[in-house]
């Protein structure tokens, strides 16, 4: 037996102090009385005393001395060492997506976590605990912990993953730990069934077997302009007839539903035809309950909607630009007349057609179509309106920006009746078309640093351009230029890398995971990468230089292999020869001592009360 704090026995010095106090306290009080006659006479009337009663006088002292001894023992904290009683535990916890399958009220992951906690709590003091968690990445959560409470707290904080688990990496980590600690005992907590294992106890938590999964959700527009939604469904745990619902734009109101007969393990394709021409998002949902809800629904966001923004068109009544915008899919468009413009804010793109405001909007991109004066803050100056002598000519520059902007434009030129001559002031701008040597279409940055596109002619004055396919193409390119794509796709699988385009002028990117966890990826590069590790909708917020925040949604689905409830693996083997014998175990539970101490104190108080009562 050893003592953690031998100095605690200094508390025994309290015993002589206690005795001293007892002696001082128990001195006879001297008092002169009128006569001792009656007191002496009273001796004759005293009952015979039981010899053991003589102890009652010092019973309180005995109890107090015992209490002091116990306090000293408690402070000294005795530890009994038992060789080989403790163990070095190495837990490998599978945190893959399939561990989210529910069974009898809890998930496989929760069950596994509980099993680890039970083993830790039931282990002998002196044991060490190491936990390797195999999720999206393999992580050694803690190594060589000796504090049970700390280890249990760390286990409690673990959360299940949604990706395919890299148990191979976990095996490497466990092997490393085993090599360093040959006495360690490895436990693998997983829902996978291993055909073979070595030097490892596999604890299977494979409850729950019924699962329906949706895959490959997609959409396309048919030739008649209608939206077609398609996908595949698969059933695990037996043949089943399932009901799949289609929901649009976050609504819980079912748009359409179909029943599907599924054979176990076989994918079955399905599709919904709709009369819709546009949507923000749709969700496919298997309405029948199963043991894993993560793969029973999937949401698909409209990529073009996610990459666009609100647009304000201020026009003198011309319908050309509005028609052009709608033809390229700009749906969140607000159109007002020139006289209604009062400096509205809150848009990502302001288009002024045949109208020029006094001041250029300080936020968002700005298009000026046929300006007749110089607005404050714009990157051009109005000079004069001129009749066109020849055709407008597209730029032949090989600059990437020019080529990208003119991508898809088939003609070299187009006829134009008249245009406005604008001075560019020598600023940073790119010209895409000229007429008679004057810049006709160009872009640059305005005084607020926002993108500015200028078309120095009215769409009314060039039917050759306005009615051409090149017009639509060019408008689309301008839109893309004004609203660069943030993401290339809105559909991902857990474990994928999500590339986020860092747009020019972007000051901050914030990604909110389905769990609410926020991340701020690096924006010093043109493309920031982010590991998608949760199932559900991610929200990406980009804060631009003008203060406008753009929101983009993407959806992440569970990996296909994680939908399989019963997964068989070949082997999980830790090579090497385990060393016999465990670690030294310690018993330092002072609960019994505390109880005895409490009893003694209570007994002492009882004696005190008895004496008080007796003296009444």
């Amino acid at each position: 037996m050893t003592f953690l704090f031998p100095l605690g026995f200094l508390a025994l010095l309290g015993i002589p102090v206690l005795i001293l106090i007892y002696i001082i306290k128990n001195r006879y009080t001297e008092q002169t009385v009128t006569s001792t006659y009656l007191w002496t006479l009273s001796e004759k009337f005293l009952r015979r005393r039981i010899p053991i009663n003589r102890l009652t006088g010092i019973l309180s002292l005995i109890l107090q001395i015992l209490a002091v001894i116990l306090i000293a023992v408690i402070v000294a904290h005795p530890v009994i060492t038992l060789p080989g009683a403790a163990q070095a535990y190495c837990f490998v916890l599978d945190a893959s997506g399939s561990m989210n399958i529910e069974y009898e009220g809890s998930t496989r992951f929760e069950e596994g976590r509980q099993k680890i906690k039970d083993m830790i709590n039931g282990s002998v003091k002196g044991s060490t605990y190491t936990l390797i968690c195999a999720g999206a990445t393999t992580e050694t959560v803690f190594e060589g912990y000796t504090d049970k409470e700390r280890a249990v707290e760390a286990v409690d904080e673990l959360e299940s993953g949604y990706t395919a688990a890299g148990l191979g990496d976990a095996l490497i980590e466990a092997q490393k730990y085993f090599n360093d600690n040959p006495r360690a005992h490895t436990y693998l907590i997983t829902d996978k069934v291993y055909a073979d294992s070595q030097n490892v106890d596999i604890i299977n938590v494979g409850g729950g077997a019924v699962n329906y999964a949706l895959r490959d959700a997609a959409y396309e527009y048919t030739a008649d302009g209608g939206l077609k939604v398609s996908g595949k469904a698969v059933s695990y745990g037996g043949d089943a007839e399932v009901e799949i619902g289609l929901y649009f734009n976050g609504s819980d109101e079912e748009y359409s539903v179909l029943s599907l007969q599924l054979s176990e393990g076989e994918e079955k394709a399905f599709e919904f035809g709709t009369g819709l021409s546009d949507f923000e998002s749709f969700e496919l949902r298997i309405n029948d309950g199963d043991d894993l809800g993560l793969d029973s629904s999937v949401t698909v966001f409209n990529k073009s909607r996610e990459n666009s923004s609100d647009t304000l068109l201020v026009s003198d009544g011309s319908i050309y630009m509005e028609a052009a915008l709608r033809s390229v899919g700009v749906t969140n468009l607000t159109v007002i007349k020139a006289e209604e413009y009062e400096g509205q804010t809150g848009y990502g793109l302001y288009i002024f057609e045949n109208f020029v405001p006094e001041i250029t909007p300080a936020e968002g991109s700005v298009w000026y179509i046929n300006p007749d004066k110089s607005p404050e803050g714009a990157n051009f100056s109005f000079q004069t309106e001129v009749e066109a002598n020849g055709a407008a000519v597209y730029s032949t520059s090989t600059k990437t920006t020019v080529r990208k902007m003119l991508e898809g434009v088939t003609a070299d030129s187009f006829l134009l009746k008249r245009f406005v001559k604008l001075g560019t002031g020598g600023g940073d701008f790119t010209v895409y078309a000229t007429c008679d040597g004057s810049p006709l279409m160009f872009s640059g940055a305005n005084a607020y640093g926002n993108r500015e596109v200028v078309m120095a002619f009215s769409l009314r004055d060039s039917a050759a351009f306005t009615l051409s396919l090149d017009c639509t193409t060019l408008i689309s390119n301008f839109i893309n230029y004004s609203f660069p794509e943030v993401v290339d796709s809105t559909a991902y699988v857990c474990g994928d890398i999500l590339p986020v385009n860092v747009l020019p002028g972007c000051k901050n990117i914030r990604i909110v995971a389905p769990s609410g966890k926020e991340s701020y990826p690096d924006i010093s590069t043109t493309v920031s990468e982010y590991l998608v590790s949760e199932v559900g909708a991610y929200k990406i917020y980009l804060t631009m230089a003008d203060g406008i925040e753009r929101e983009v949604n993407v959806y992440s689905t569970l990996p296909e292999e994680e939908s399989v409830p019963l997964c068989e693996e070949e082997a999980f083997k830790i090579t090497g020869t385990p060393q016999a014998g465990g670690l030294a175990g310690f018993y330092d539970d002072l609960l019994a001592v505390f109880i005895i101490l409490a009893v003694l104190v209570a007994a002492d108080f009882g004696v005190y009360c008895y004496e008080q009562y007796q003296l009444r």
């Binding site: 008092q31 002169t32 009385v33 009128t34 006569s35 001792t36 006659y37 009273s42 009337f45 005293l46």
Partner: protein, 294 residues
């Protein structure tokens, strides 16, 4: 002792007490004390045949005229009694906060006053060591009472006392009144000899035991070492607990019972007077109930 125990205020108190006694009882000390023999008082008692030599002035001539025989008229005899009051002047009577000596002096003074009011002679003694020292001698009448009673203030309570050794050799009279012993009787000394002696002398005996509140109901608790105020060599050392207190009260009952039995067996009276007890209660209640005052 407080020199002003017998003061004007106290005297007014015993005047009031005397009035109350008169109104309520005809006590031993009230009226003239009739003798068992015939005397010369104006109160007619009986007739007897004339015997030559008798005082012929007491012949009843009316009876002679009727019966032609000489009868002598007899009258009750009246005697003056001598009340002797003994006060225990040992230290135990005055030690501590009990004020037993004050109560003892007050009781003695009150008894003396009642006696002199009845034209009795009163002597007051203090018992010190083995002597009975006369403090007031043959006091008769109220004037003498007022002149002498203040001497009680001068009594010094100190040392030991032996009641028997003090009374036995002293003059106690014979059949001429009441002997009152005022003491705490907390002594090993045998006081029964004195009571026997007084009984032998045909004296009426009244023992008044004065005890303090602490003696009647001790409050001391815990480990105590008691020294005797009269003899420091005597001590009592004990852990005073409930059991000891119970034994003490039994001892107290035994001691007071022993004195009472001693007195009653000798035709005497006994009362227990607490030092804090009002005089009115002692006289109007206890002395009347015991028959000392009828």
């Amino acid at each position: 002792m407080n020199p002003l125990v017998v003061n004007e205020e106290f005297l007014a108190e015993i005047e009031l007490l005397q009035t109350l006694l008169k109104n309520n009882v005809a006590g031993r000390f009230g009226g003239n004390h009739q003798s068992k023999t015939f005397g010369s008082s104006p109160e007619f008692a009986d007739y007897r045949d004339y015997i030559p030599g008798d005082d012929i002035t007491k012949l009843d001539w009316n009876a002679y005229a009727r019966f032609e025989k000489l009868y002598l008229k007899l009258y009750l005899d009246e005697r003056q009694v001598h009340t002797r009051i003994y006060i225990d002047a040992s230290r135990s009577m005055s030690y501590g906060k009990g004020k037993k000596e004050v109560q003892a002096v007050k009781i003695a003074a009150a008894l003396a006053y009642i006696s002199v009011c009845e034209m009795d002679r009163v002597s007051v003694y203090v018992i010190r060591e083995n002597r009975a020292e006369e403090v007031i001698s043959n006091m008769l009448g109220r004037e003498a009472f007022y002149n002498n009673i203040g001497k009680l203030n001068d009594i010094v309570f100190d040392g030991n006392s032996s009641i028997s050794e003090a009374i036995l050799p002293s003059t106690v009279g014979y059949g001429d009144g009441l002997s009152v012993i005022i003491s705490d009787f907390l002594t090993d000394n045998d006081f029964s000899a004195a009571i026997d002696h007084l009984a032998t002398k045909k004296r009426d005996i009244l023992c008044i035991q004065v005890l303090s509140r602490e003696e009647l109901n001790p409050k001391s608790r815990g480990k105590m070492h008691f020294f005797d105020s009269e003899d420091p060599a005597k001590f009592y050392r004990k852990n005073i607990n409930r059991e000891i207190i119970r034994a003490y009260k039994q001892a107290l009952a035994y001691a007071t019972g022993r004195i009472r039995e001693q007195c009653l067996s000798r035709g005497g009276y006994y009362i227990l007077a607490a030092s804090h007890e009002p005089l009115g209660d002692i006289f109007l209640d206890k002395l009347v109930s015991t028959g000392v005052i009828k």
